[in-house]
């Protein structure tokens, strides 16, 4: 492989290997932000919580000032939000601590509803959806006492779908289920023989030898691949009339859910499974991959990564963060005691 890399350098230029050290927590950092619920209508109340850690592990408390950013991003801005969201100012609407009501005009400001037309001009351009058909309200987490850039989270807005007839809208509305955040169901250690030993409880630490490598596996709940009344999940094909048990109080799934999306190119509704991304964080040692994941076509509900313990004894804190492609976030942490060889 190295010879091939060298040969390819001759042909097309050389790319430096910049180490991705985002898995390594050595200073206070936000690793994830979870919004509950992860998807809501404008005006609904959402609560934010951050996975905030430093070199010692999880940091208790909530040192953040939470705000909604109401500035709309110009098309010339290729970042995720308007630059006005990076600094306190008119664009920030403060939340009440870590919770707040989503701005009522969210679907006009960040969604498919046309914004008010300016004088003498035709109606404004609505915001385009992401590939999952979603629209998002920016949430800013800042620490005023610290000179650092804020952290951005996004609350998924339930706004409907644009430019469709009533029949299609009704069908979508009947089939669409608000997102439920994924949650790690188990975290396990994979033995040499392939045995999987679950980590019992988040407070437990396991012990490993310094410099040893172990394979970690995270698993998430299985979500139904088809509608089955009584499975506890209100699938897109079901509703309160066809399956009252599951849909009277619609219940989602903490894994890779199926959801309906409006395909703007083919002008049809499609059923799609969520893809899941897994981020791995540790305060010591090294991980083989900073990120792992499963695509929407992959039905597997586990993901593995290798972690190599540091060369000296001590305690290592780690976390696994699951993200689905509709903005849902779930995580769990773990501790490892490293002993000298």
């Amino acid at each position: 492989m190295e010879a091939m890399r060298w040969t390819l350098c001759l042909l097309a230029g050389c790319v430096p290997e910049l180490i991705d050290d985002t898995p390594y927590v050595d200073e206070p950092r936000v690793l994830a932000i979870r919004l509950d619920p992860p998807e809501a209508v404008p005006g609904a109340t959402v609560r934010a919580s951050a996975l905030f850690a430093d070199a010692e592990g999880l940091v208790d408390g909530d040192p953040f000032v939470w705000s909604f950013c109401v500035a709309r991003k110009p098309l010339a801005e290729l970042g995720p939000v308007s630059p006005r969201c990076y600094e306190p100012g008119e664009a920030w609407e403060a939340m009440d601590g870590a919770q707040g009501a989503l701005p009522a005009d969210g679907c006009a400001r960040f969604g498919p509803n046309p914004p008010p037309a300016e004088a003498g001009e035709s109606g404004g351009r609505p915001v385009d959806p992401d590939p999952s058909g979603g629209y998002y309200q920016p949430v800013v987490a800042s620490r005023p006492a610290v000179d650092e850039e804020p952290t951005l989270a996004f609350a998924r807005l339930r706004c409907g779908i644009p430019n469709v007839n009533q029949e299609t809208f009704v069908a979508w509305n009947r089939a669409y289920r608000d997102n439920v955040s994924p949650m790690p169901e188990t975290l396990s250690v994979v033995g040499e023989a392939g045995t999987v030993v679950p980590w019992e409880g988040t407070g437990d630490a396991i012990e490993v030898q310094a410099g040893a490598t172990m394979t970690l596996e995270v698993a998430w709940p299985a979500c139904p691949d088809s509608a089955s009344c009584g499975d506890g999940v209100c699938s897109p094909e079901e509703d309160v009339t066809t399956c009252r048990d599951d849909c009277e109080i619609p219940t989602g799934c903490n894994g890779a859910e199926r959801y309906v999306v409006w395909d703007t190119a083919d002008k049809i509704l499609r059923l799609r499974r969520e893809a899941l991304s897994i981020a791995w964080y540790v305060t010591g040692g090294t991980v083989a991959e900073a990120r792992t994941g499963r695509s929407a076509d992959d039905p597997e509900r586990t993901s593995r990564n290798e972690w190599t313990a540091p060369s000296s004894a001590g305690e290592v804190w780690g976390a696994v963060v699951l993200r689905d492609d509709r903005g849902g976030v779930g995580y769990r942490s773990f501790r490892v005691r490293v002993r000298d060889p």
Binding site: L11, A12, L18, L78, G123, E149, P150, R291
Partner: protein
């Protein structure tokens, strides 16, 4: 030559008879003056007696014009024949008075005179005994002073051959104009005793009327030997003054700071969408079919339009002039190519050529994972030409070219949401029929009718964000021109430049892909994940008549070229606004008409020096992809601009020429991404951008002397943009402040030639990353930028060396060449690349030292 006039008629009437029908002169006879008569005008009045049959029976001089003229007129009159006069209805004998005028009639010459001198290139002494042969077989031999003369040369473009002792047959072409003398100087290499010679290009210093204010033209053979081009003739454009150094893998042409799409590339007057294949490794035309390439970085004349930047015109070789079969086969690290040209029936020829890039397919076969790391270009091109000489100065030819490119790259990742890939295919085809006629009296007629198609497919993905653009475009057009020499000092040209294109575009995905000038982003930054879709058609038509007058009242001392181009542009877009549901959409028809005056003045106050100035207005159609209601703006106007240039130059010593040109260009109504927080529907782009470029370029060129040739060029330029009229000016993405290129080639004995090229260029501007914000939804850091384009990539330096050796084998030649790129192995940074959290910055380096071995067989 003399002519006579019938001045008056008188007759004698006798005895009450009435003339009922006057005699008419049926046959006139020219008078011949005896030799030695110096006066050429006179008038003689004669009394003629006509018989009943109308013949002249008696001649009497009534008014003398001089003895010689009297005798000549009388003799001629006796040979006149009249229709019989009638008196009272019956043929009768009559007497009439007839004035015979002797008038000198100037006859315009119908042939030219060809004269000149043949000199030893190295010692600059005349070479006697060289046979100069015209294509029609006539010849002359140089005298003791190396001079020759051939008179009564038929006008038009003719092949010339020079042969002699210690001189291998050399060929060139000259254009002859009736009534003019073409005085040429040929500097040739003389072989050493016993040395075998091979074909080489002649450098001719014959006078020519320049039409472009500033231009650099390079012959094919000279261009092929430039180091770093691997024998690709058209890659010489990269080394010409005014051209910025393209980034690695780019292949784009940035001339005087203009966007690559603003510079037009024409082959025999037919516009083609690109000059180079992906990656810039090769041009889209095989070198064997290229005769010359000319770059006009700005201020070009009225015959061309639809472009705010520069102009690259490629002339292809005429197969109808071939006298024998010519074939070439070549191969090197990147590709293999072949070319064959066959004369047909002595009046025409057929040529076929093609090239196939094999690096990509070979790596696919043996290292399929290669595209996981690097974009490996795959390309091919084919050319066909058939031509026939209808008459010595009239030809008809048909040409077809095909070009294809595909670039695939992937960046795998353990998380599918972070995998990135791109698959891009670009192909185009063009075919044209060309008629050309050189009247020989300064009139030149050319008509080109062409058609073609472009296909572009691009699919790019970053995790779940997939962007695809599919473009299918058909184009037809015609270019016609007629040039006439109204006066020895005045040439007029009128013409028509027309093109109609129909494009069908389907686009889905991120609104920010592909990137465009003015985007503030870092390499590797994920694109915004807001997606849209659009499917639309664009029809663009442009029929531009033009006139151009070239006034040279003082031969080469002063030339003024004034032109006017009327450029009406019509475009129809199928959607004026984004589609709402399934409701039908209205289209949009936009019409722009521009009047584009252009003028250039070139004066040569001294024989070895010139000064020049030029100015003109220009415009171009908006890009079809920018007219999307969802991703662009169907109402975009045609961007417009102006060029102003001035220069000075000359030949301080015969083999040296020096040119310096200052320029200022301005462009308006450039399409920029909307900066509004609430853009209007159908207005993702707005025509709010302005551009300006200014600077100077210098070139010191050495014509071949003692085996050396080459040039040094330096460009100092600023290319700036502002996104809106309220914004500040900033460096454009194409700003390259300094570009220095030095080229030298040396023809060694024994068939060797060596060359060296060194380039130093400023890096392109980049926006500095000052921090990063963590986006927890997409789990990526997003860069926070400082001032746009305030940072710059490091200065680029590269030296390339070429060594080649030719071997003659019977009727063919073999050439082995070694082209070593970056011979000093200097590590250049092509792009900044950042760590995931933008805390660390590195550089993607360009190619290290790379030797490319090539072989070429030619017959």
């Amino acid at each position: 030559m003399f002519g006579g006039l019938l001045a008056s008629l008188a007759w004698a009437q006798e005895g009450g008879q009435v003339l009922t029908k006057a005699p008419e002169l049926l046959e006139f006879a020219e008078a011949e003056l005896p030799a030695g008569v110096t006066s050429r005008t006179a008038s003689v009045v004669l009394r003629l007696t006509l018989g009943v049959d109308g013949r002249v029976e008696e001649v009497e001089v009534v008014e003398s014009g001089g003895e010689d003229f009297d005798a000549a007129a009388s003799e001629a009159a006796r040979r006149f024949l009249f229709s019989p006069a009638e008196i009272d209805g019956a043929p009768s004998r009559v007497r009439i008075l007839y004035r015979y005028e002797f008038v000198e009639r100037l006859e315009l010459p119908t042939t030219a005179i060809f004269s000149g001198v043949v000199r030893d290139r190295e010692r600059r002494v005349p070479v006697p005994g060289v046979t100069v042969t015209l294509a029609d077989g006539r010849r002359a031999v140089t005298d003791g002073e190396g001079r020759f003369e051939i008179r009564d040369v038929e006008p038009g473009t003719l092949s010339i051959t020079l042969e002699g002792e210690r001189l291998t047959a050399l060929g060139t072409e000259e254009t002859f104009v009736a009534g003019e003398r073409l005085d040429a100087t040929y500097d040739v290499f003389l072989l050493e005793e016993g040395e075998e010679g091979d074909d080489m290009e002649i450098l001719v210093s014959a006078p020519a009327l320049r039409k472009a204010a500033v231009s650099t033209e390079v012959g094919a053979e000279e261009a092929r030997k430039i180091p770093g081009t691997q024998g690709d003739v058209l890659r010489v454009v990269e080394s010409l003054p005014g051209v910025a150094r393209a980034g690695l893998g780019s292949g784009s042409l940035v001339v005087w700071g203009a966007a690559p799409d603003d510079t037009g590339v024409y082959v025999d007057g037919v516009r083609v969408p690109r000059l180079y294949h992906d990656g810039g490794l090769r041009s889209v035309l095989g070198s064997d079919i290229v005769r010359s390439v000319e770059l006009v970085p700005g201020g070009f004349g009225a015959a061309y339009g639809r472009g705010l930047g520069g102009l690259v015109t490629v002339k292809t070789a005429r197969v109808e002039d071939e006298e024998s079969v010519r074939a070439t086969v070549a191969a090197d690290l990147y590709d293999g190519s072949a070319f064959v040209s066959v004369p047909v029936v002595g009046r025409g020829g057929i040529a076929v050529g093609g090239r196939y890039g094999w690096v990509g397919p070979l790596l696919d076969q043996f290292y399929p994972a290669v595209q996981d790391f690097f974009p490996i270009p795959r390309y091919y091109d084919v050319q066909l030409r058939a031509g026939v000489k209808l008459r010595p100065n009239e030809a008809l030819d048909v040409t077809g070219i095909v070009s294809g490119d595909r670039t695939v790259r992937t960046a795998p990742n353990a998380d599918p949401a972070r995998e990135a890939s791109e698959d891009r295919r670009v192909t185009f085809q063009r075919a044209w029929l060309r008629y050309s006629r050189d009247g020989g009296d300064g009139t030149v007629t050319s008509v080109v009718v062409f058609g073609g198609a472009d296909q572009q497919d691009r699919v790019a993905s970053f995790g779940p964000v997939e962007t695809s653009i599919r473009t299918r475009q058909a184009v037809v057009g015609a270019r016609a021109s007629y040039r006439a020499r109204i006066h020895p000092a005045l040439t007029l040209e009128g013409g028509l430049d027309s093109e109609v294109s129909v494009a069908s575009i389907v686009r889905e995905g991120s609104t920010a892909v592909p990137g465009r000038e003015g985007d503030v982003r870092a390499f590797g930054q994920p694109p915004p994940d807001q997606i849209a879709t659009d499917s639309f058609q664009v029809v663009q038509a442009n029929v531009a008549p033009y006139v151009e007058a070239a006034l040279a009242p003082w031969k080469e001392r002063l030339t003024v070229v004034a032109g006017l181009r009327l450029d009406p542009q019509v475009r129809s877009v199928s959607r004026a606004l984004p589609q709402v549901g399934i409701a039908p959409t209205n289209g949009l028809l936009v019409e722009d008409t521009r009047l584009e005056p252009r003028i250039s003045v070139r004066a040569a106050p001294l024989e070895a020096m010139y000064v020049m100035a030029a100015a003109g207005l220009y415009s171009q159609q908006p890009q079809a992809q920018d007219l999307s209601a969802a991703f662009g703006n169907p109402s975009l106007p045609a961007p417009r601009g102006a060029h102003y240039l001035a220069g000075i130059g000359g030949r301080p010593a015969k083999p040296l020429s020096i040119d310096a040109t200052g320029y200022f260009t301005r462009s308006r109504d450039l399409a920029m991404r909307s900066e509004r927080e609430q853009p209007a529907r159908g207005a993702a782009l707005e025509a709010t951008g302005d551009g300006r470029a200014y600077g100077a370029q210098f070139m010191l060129r050495l014509d071949a002397v003692a085996g050396f040739s080459g040039w040094i060029s330096y460009s100092l330029g600023w290319s700036e943009r502002r996104n809106t009229p309220e914004s500040s000016w900033r460096p454009s993405d194409f700003d390259q402040r300094h570009v220095l290129t030095a080229l030298v080639a040396y023809d060694l004995p024994l068939g060797f030639d060596v060359g060296l090229r060194a380039r130093v260029a400023s890096g392109y501007p980049r926006s500095e990353v000052q921090g990063a914000v963590y986006d927890v939804r997409r789990d990526v850091y997003q860069p926070v930028f400082g001032e746009q384009n305030a940072l710059r990539l490091p200065t680029f330096f590269q030296a390339d060396v070429r060594v080649a050796k030719e071997f003659a084998v019977r009727a063919s030649t073999f050439e082995i060449s070694l082209d070593v790129q970056n011979v000093t192995n200097f590590k250049n940074t092509e792009e900044f690349i950042y760590s995931s959290d933008y805390q660390e910055r590195g550089g993607i380096s360009s190619l290290p030292i790379l030797p490319v071995l090539g072989v070429r067989w030619k017959r």
